[in-house]
């Protein structure tokens, strides 16, 4: 970690030329050609915080969603190479999600604008100089007067404050707009408690969780924090675990992690939530006093009414009521895009009521946390009206791409066309930037100063970790400079010469407000820690408002023409569409469907049979708003009358990876300007078969385990008794699962021991660690953050859609997802298991390699020597776990177009065409830790080495360390009674131990 230091303009920028020194950067392919003359370019001035070949870590704050996680930016030779979670940060505590890590590919995106686009001297749109662009903005500002609007997706923080002041000074409008803003939660909180805010949720404390369409593990609110809490509550701790029920028309990633998935008639969830509240209220005596006022309302929602409204079996409804009423604290959440139907506010209100009567408000639901929220879609709709009426002459879009995220049918584009000057600050030529007159690209958050206040008591800082990739000007400085040029009130409002200075002033005030004597020391400490973190403030006490019981009427129905309800959902990779230009996210399969690079339509198997469509067939969906085409994916985890589709693709512009890829599900939606939010689940669609096919680019071969016991589970009751997988299996009344007799087992053991003796030679006879890993399946959610971490750490290239069709993805670590049930009326469920090189003791891949490119190291790794590999691929054939990946093409050359190559980790060889590669247990980190220990003359300690996947995992499911040390965390984890090896019977003796998933079976 390092402080900000005085920097000469050249030193950090130097990375572009210092590549040669570092032995890094450009696709450094295996080969010994050193014929060409290389140059050594020294730094002009030594920067205190950069030592060649040693990583420097800067703390910052992630801006990929509103959660505001703290990040550590790992830099080498003054370029960012990886984003990791900040362990000190209260929100994410060292973890990070896939989207957050992919921020790096936003920084180095090959389609990043190199400079502003605007009218040049002859009036054509072209690249112009930053000064010219700011001049043009100033002129437009001067002409527009107060007919100015700014649409900003920036979260709370100094910049947002400055923007508000700035817009205020012009007299214009500021719309803080984000695509997924959870407006119904706030509107409902306003109604139920009279509080206009999104509360914070403590999943970790809950013993029973019910989610009404809130995909809190992937996109809803603060996913990493939610997942941390969820792992705490729902991960098996040796005695018990929370039960989680997911309610929604489609089993999302959050849904597949639930113990039970309920799919009531879309729109009727209000009944279910109120029914549970009624059950709680009528069985518990401890409900808040003012809840009594709700009794008449709630009493209407008995089991029969709820069962009738929702279409769920009465037995299931009763069970849910009983379970929820029985435990405390519990937690119900709602307000996700998946259930953002016209009655969404009612649903959220019902859930607020439920939490209130169950006593969760103040414990697992905390108001007063200041969870960031914008003005909502309603404000944007108002702006649209104003634009349409010709009241706006200048509009600036900042961190917002409404032309993609707002349905076409809303007429936003037409209204926008009436604005005289349209300005975008997008870093990329996105859908909205494409129609703007002036694009003044902002700096990437990793290149500039800023801060963020994602919640009360958390003050995150952002600092430039490197010289900008392109010499652009941060939007904050653009605003300041434009203000100076315009003069008047605008200029008078701002005195700071730069935004950096402004920010420091703000922070100096913050320091003083907290009684820090030395503001400079405070600033430096804040930089080092990534911000200032106060203990979470006490929750704000709330009481039921008078309007609490005013529901908008019973269950909503989703009207319109068409036999299917259309359910778009936010993709956990593409999010609101910003992920669509980042190969890491495009190639990281959707955690549920395992589809990459495409959009798809989820169809229930029964519906597919009725429609007579198969996977890959292109369907045309038509709603009142428009029509789109996409391939079918037959998914048993979606209601039969629902067609689900991910949001975020179908960009008209947005760079080479995003443009024209997939379809934009929002195109089918109608916008209801008056609702204050965008009703996503409100459209019926007609289905038309096109007769055309387009293969679904999924990374999965077969979605079923076929009785192979790959993901083991055990019921929580048996797990609590400390049974092993086999014991639990037998305790459930199954026959023993024996492959070998006792005698055979003895023989195998004896042979194994004799082989162990015989191989003790050379380095193999020395005392060495034995690296191993334990993965707790009761914590793993399948979120795939580890996958992106692995891509980032190990320079894994993406292969693109065409090669995914041929199953050639390179993900060293993949999340396998297997469906269970879903046939013959059984409930569908899914299990996930991270599959990576198992570093087997008796690795089948090793003896078959003719050149020892695959071999066993003395410290228990399954080594893979890229430069020795000739590419016979025998090892991959013989790998029972299929975790070896082959460079069929020169992927490394194709996948990292400039400047994307700057993200490459110089510690890891970039693999050439024709060689095999695979998970190395991050051997570069092991070797670095060993060298560090050697320099300090000390032995390695447990925790010195942490693999990239384990580091990123928000659930803390992965443990890594020395298996020979009985005290190490991984040894302890591997000795857990739930431990098992995948494909144990084939006696390859993997170094990865999985801990069986624990489920709430029928007994719970």
């Amino acid at each position: 970690m390092s402080d900000q230091t005085t920097r000469e303009p050249l030193d950090r920028r130097r990375f572009l030329k210092v590549v040669g020194v570092a032995g890094a950067g450009t696709a450094a392919l295996s080969g010994c050609s050193t014929g060409q003359v290389e140059k050594l370019v020294p730094y002009l001035v030594q920067s205190e915080d950069q030592v060649p070949s040693l990583p420097t870590i800067y703390a910052s704050t992630c801006t990929e969603c509103a959660a505001g996680c703290g990040i550590h930016v790992r830099t080498r030779e003054a370029r960012a190479i990886k984003l990791e979670g900040n362990p000190d940060h209260p929100i994410n505590a060292g973890a990070i999600c896939a989207r957050g890590q992919a921020s790096l590919q936003g920084l180095y995106n090959p389609d990043r604008l190199k400079g502003p686009l605007g009218k040049n001297t002859v009036g054509k749109t072209a690249e112009i100089l930053p000064n010219e662009a700011i001049d043009q903005l100033a002129v437009a500002l001067g002409q527009a007067g107060n007919r100015v609007a700014v649409v900003s997706g920036a979260g709370p923080g100094t910049f947002s404050d400055l923007l508000a002041q700035w817009v205020g000074a012009t007299g214009g409008k500021l719309v803080r707009y984000r695509a997924f803003d959870h407006e119904p939660v706030r509107l409902a909180a306003q109604r139920v408690f009279g509080v206009d805010e999104v509360p914070a949720h403590d999943f970790g404390a809950a013993r029973m969780i019910v989610s009404f369409g809130a995909d809190f593990l992937e996109t809803w609110n603060s996913p990493v924090e939610n997942q941390r809490g969820f792992a705490k509550a729902h991960g098996f701790d040796g005695r018990e675990m929370a039960k989680f029920v997911y309610v929604g028309p489609r089993m999302s990633l959050t849904g597949i992690n639930a113990d039970q998935w309920l799919a009531p008639t879309p729109g009727s969830e209000v009944s279910l939530a109120l029914g549970i509240a009624n059950a709680v209220l009528s069985t518990r005596t401890s409900a808040p006093a003012d809840a009594a006022a709700l009794r008449p309302l709630l009493a209407q929602y008995g089991i029969d009414r709820v069962a009738q409204d929702t279409g769920l079996p009465a037995e299931a409804v009763r069970k849910l009521f009983d379970e929820f009423a029985a435990v405390t604290p519990s937690l119900a959440v709602a307000g996700g895009v998946a259930l953002q139907h016209p009655a969404a506010v009612d649903l959220c209100a019902a859930v607020h009521i439920l939490n209130y009567v169950a006593g969760n408000v103040g414990t697992t639901v905390r108001f007063g946390a200041g969870t960031p929220a914008g003005d909502g879609y309603g404000a944007l709709a108002e702006l649209q009206k104003a634009m349409d009426a010709g009241q706006i002459d200048l509009v600036i879009f900042h961190e917002a791409n409404p032309l993609h995220s707002v349905p076409k049918s809303s007429g936003f584009a037409a209204a926008l066309a009436k604005v005289k000057v349209k300005v975008s600050t997008s870093l990329y030529f996105d859908d909205t930037a494409a129609v703007c007159d002036l694009v003044i690209p902002d700096l990437h958050p990793l290149e500039r100063w800023d801060d963020a206040r994602p919640r009360a008591g958390v003050f995150g800082l952002m600092q430039p970790v490197m010289e900008p990739v392109y010499r652009n000007v941060s939007t904050a400085d653009v605003l300041l400079q434009a203000a100076r040029k315009v003069g008047g009130t605008l200029a008078a409002t701002f005195t700071a010469p730069t935004y950096e200075a402004h920010l420091k002033t703000v922070w100096a005030e913050l320091a003083r407000a907290r009684g820090a004597g030395n503001t400079e020391a405070f600033w430096r400490a804040a930089l080092a820690n990534g911000g200032v973190y106060d203990p979470a403030p006490a929750p704000r006490a709330v009481a039921l408002a008078a309007t609490a019981g005013q529901l908008g009427g019973g269950p909503a129905t989703i009207g319109g023409d068409g036999e299917f309800i259309f359910a778009p959902f936010p993709s956990s990779m593409y999010y609101d569409g910003r992920g669509a230009n980042r190969p890491w996210l495009l190639e990281n399969p959707d955690p549920v469907t395992k589809i990459t690079w495409q959009s798809w339509i989820e169809v229930h198997p029964d519906a597919a049979r009725e429609l007579d469509v198969r996977e890959g067939e292109i369907l045309k969906l038509t709603s009142a708003a428009g029509s789109i085409e996409s391939s079918v994916y037959v998914y048993p985890g979606v209601r039969k009358d629902v067609l689900a589709m991910p949001l975020g693709l179908g960009h008209a512009e947005y760079g080479r990876y995003a443009k024209g890829r997939g379809a934009n599900a929002a195109d089918l939606l109608s916008a209801d300007a008056g609702a204050g939010f965008l009703p996503y689940l409100a459209t019926r669609v007609k289905v038309e078969k096109t007769g055309r096919y387009r293969k679904v680019a999924k990374t999965e071969g077969n979605p079923r385990e076929l009785g192979r016991g790959i993901t083991e589970t055990m019921p929580v009751g048996l797990a609590a008794r400390g049974l092993t997988v086999e014991q639990a299996y037998q305790a459930e009344g199954h026959e023993p699962h024996e492959i070998n007799t006792e005698g055979e087992k003895e023989a195998i053991k004896g042979f194994d021991e004799s082989q162990r003796e015989k191989r003790k030679f050379g380095a193999y006879a020395l005392e060495q660690p034995m690296w191993g890993m334990a993965i707790d399946l009761s914590r793993c959610t399948g979120c795939s953050s580890c996958v992106t971490a692995c891509y980032a750490e190990n320079n894994i290239p993406h292969v693109g859609e065409d090669d995914i069709f041929r199953g050639r993805e390179m993900s060293w670590l993949r999340i396998e997802r297997y469906f269970h049930g879903g046939e013959d009326g059984e409930p569908i469920s899914a299990r996930v298991i991270p599959m990576l090189c198992q570093h087997c003791d008796n690795a089948p891949c090793e003896p078959v390699c003719p050149v020892y490119a695959a071999y066993h190291t003395a410290d228990g790794l399954n080594g893979q020597v890229y430069n020795r590999c000739v590419g016979t691929r025998y090892c991959a054939n013989n790998c029972p776990y299929k975790v070896r990946y082959f460079n069929w093409y020169a992927y490394a050359k194709l996948a990292f177009p400039e400047p994307l190559n700057l993200q490459l980790n110089p510690d890891v060889t970039v693999r050439a065409r024709g060689v095999m590669e695979k998970c190395t247990f991050c051997v570069q980190r092991i070797r670095a830790a060993q060298t560090a220990a050697r320099l300090e003359d000390r032995p390695l300690r447990d925790g010195d080495v942490i693999t990239a996947c384990a580091q990123a995992c928000p659930s803390g499911a992965i443990t890594f360390g020395n298996m020979k040390d009985p005290e190490s965390k991984v040894s302890v984890a591997a000795r857990n009674h739930r431990g098992y090896h995948v494909l144990e019977d084939i006696n390859v003796r993997p170094a990865v131990t999985y801990l069986a998933k624990v489920v709430h079976g029928s007994e719970a």
């Binding site: 071969g701 385990e705 199953g807 050639r808 003896p847 390699c849 003719p850 460079n887 050439a912 494909l983």
Partner: protein, 449 residues
């Protein structure tokens, strides 16, 4: 011993006829020959261009779909190695068994062997990811102090194939020397000079025959276990792995039988037109084809048994992985390839129980084509269908060949055909000296000895 040889039917010719007729095959060839040769060269060029494309862009051009990391190239490799087995079987094993009918056909089958192994030998190079460093598979001293891994079946393969190529080439060349001398003595001009050089001073003197005959016998004795071992080693490329469908103890005999079966199939395909083109019908007769067909029937029946056992063991093992593999081999997405193999090999060969079919050259030729197709598919099925569904269902995948796969396959036929045709025009395809050995020399007194 010689007397028994003479009891068997042999061409009703004198030694001089043999020399004349065989030398006649080396005269100016027909237009048909040139057509065949240039088509072979054309096919070879297709393969060469495909290979260049693979070198330039990578193996991704072929249809590999993980987990199918080996497919058409290894299939074709095993196919050609298998073809290479008939030659040495006929020339070495039948030599040791003193089987008289081998004499007329062994030279062409031996040439086929050498060229088939030459073809096969290209495939390990074509198939690896970094073709330019294929020599790393050889144990040569290098500054990096590195040696290959002798535990790898691929290294066994390298040694088995190169030993086999060396020994079978030696065997062919040794057998050719007296014949080249015979041709030399009938030639004039530059061709005489050429054959003189190639005959390395052969005169047929007793001092030469004395060592030659012994040496030839020992070579045959050495080549015999080699024939059986080479395809066993190739089969261990598969059987030594843990892939269900590969990991079988019957693989070595199963592969050897299949190799001989396919080899004789190819012999039939080649010799039936060749004897006509070269006008040596009176030397290679129905008698020879009948015997070849019987051998085909034998090996075909062994294959039939092996297929049945594979399925039986797959079922009887109670091993879920084995069971799935064989179920999907018959009824999975590529069921057609599995059935092609069973029909072409196990069933078609059973037609040879009938003498009429055995002695009818047209039907034999058609059957031989079926055998060639069936045996290529056998390897394709064993390799791709076993790889396609192994342990973790999530990682399954089906491969479909692309133009790059077909280009190399077609090119391999061109490469093989090119050499075979050139050989047939340049060297005696019928062993002059061995035929002569079978034909008693004229005597003044009848009934001696």
């Amino acid at each position: 011993m010689t007397a028994t040889l003479h009891d068997h039917p042999h061409p009703n010719m004198t030694h001089a006829d043999v020399t004349r007729d065989v030398v006649a095959t080396l005269q100016t060839p027909s237009r048909g020959y040139y057509l065949a040769l240039f088509s072979a060269i054309g096919l070879f060029l297709v393969g060469a261009v495909t290979f260049l494309a693979l070198l330039k862009d990578g193996l991704g051009l072929a249809g590999y779909t993980p987990p199918v990391f080996w497919s058409v190239y290894i299939t074709t490799f095993v196919f050609w190695v298998g073809i290479g087995h008939a030659g040495t079987l006929i020339s070495a094993i039948l030599f040791l068994f003193r089987s008289p009918w081998r004499t007329a056909v062994y030279r062409s089958t031996e040439a086929m062997t050498v060229f088939a192994v030459m073809t096969a030998g290209l495939f390990p190079i074509i198939h690896i990811g970094r073709q330019w460093i294929f020599y790393w598979l050889l144990p040569y001293p290098n500054q990096r102090w590195l040696w290959p891994n002798f535990k790898s079946p691929l290294i066994w393969d390298v040694f088995a194939i190169s030993t086999y190529l060396t020994v079978s080439t030696t065997f062919l060349v040794v057998g050719l020397v007296p014949d080249i001398a015979a041709v030399r003595d009938k030639m004039t001009g530059w061709r005489k000079k050429l054959y003189s050089a190639l005959s390395i001073g052969w005169t047929g003197a007793d001092s030469q025959w004395r060592h030659y005959s012994r040496g030839y016998l020992y070579l045959a004795a050495l080549a015999t276990p080699l024939v059986l071992s080479v395809h066993s080693v190739v089969s261990w490329d598969f059987a030594m792995s843990i892939i269900p469908g590969w990991h079988g103890t019957i693989f070595a005999p199963y592969f050897v039988a299949g190799a001989i079966y396919s080899g004789i199939g190819m012999v039939l395909t080649l010799v039936i037109p060749l004897r006509k083109v070269l006008k040596i019908e009176h030397m290679i007769t129905e008698y020879h084809f009948d015997n070849l067909a019987k051998l085909t029937l034998l090996t075909g029946s062994i294959l039939f048994y092996a297929y049945a056992m594979e399925y039986f063991v797959g079922w009887y093992s109670s091993n879920i992985f084995e069971q799935t593999t064989f179920w999907r081999r018959a009824f999975g997405p590529q069921w057609w390839s599995g059935w092609t193999m069973i029909i072409c090999n196990a069933f078609v060969s059973q037609l040879l129980w009938f003498k009429k079919i055995r002695t009818n050259l047209t039907s034999l030729f058609v059957i031989s084509i079926f055998i060639n197709i069936g045996m290529w598919f056998e390897r394709y099925v064993i390799i791709t269908s076993s790889l396609a569904n192994d342990f973790l269902p999530f990682a399954w995948g089906q491969m479909n060949p692309t133009w790059a796969d077909w280009g190399i396959l077609v090119g391999s036929f061109g490469w093989f055909g090119m050499y075979f045709l050139l050989f047939a025009r340049t060297f005696p395809v019928v062993a002059i000296q061995e035929i002569k050995e079978m034909i008693p020399m004229p005597r003044r007194k009848k009934g001696a000895h």
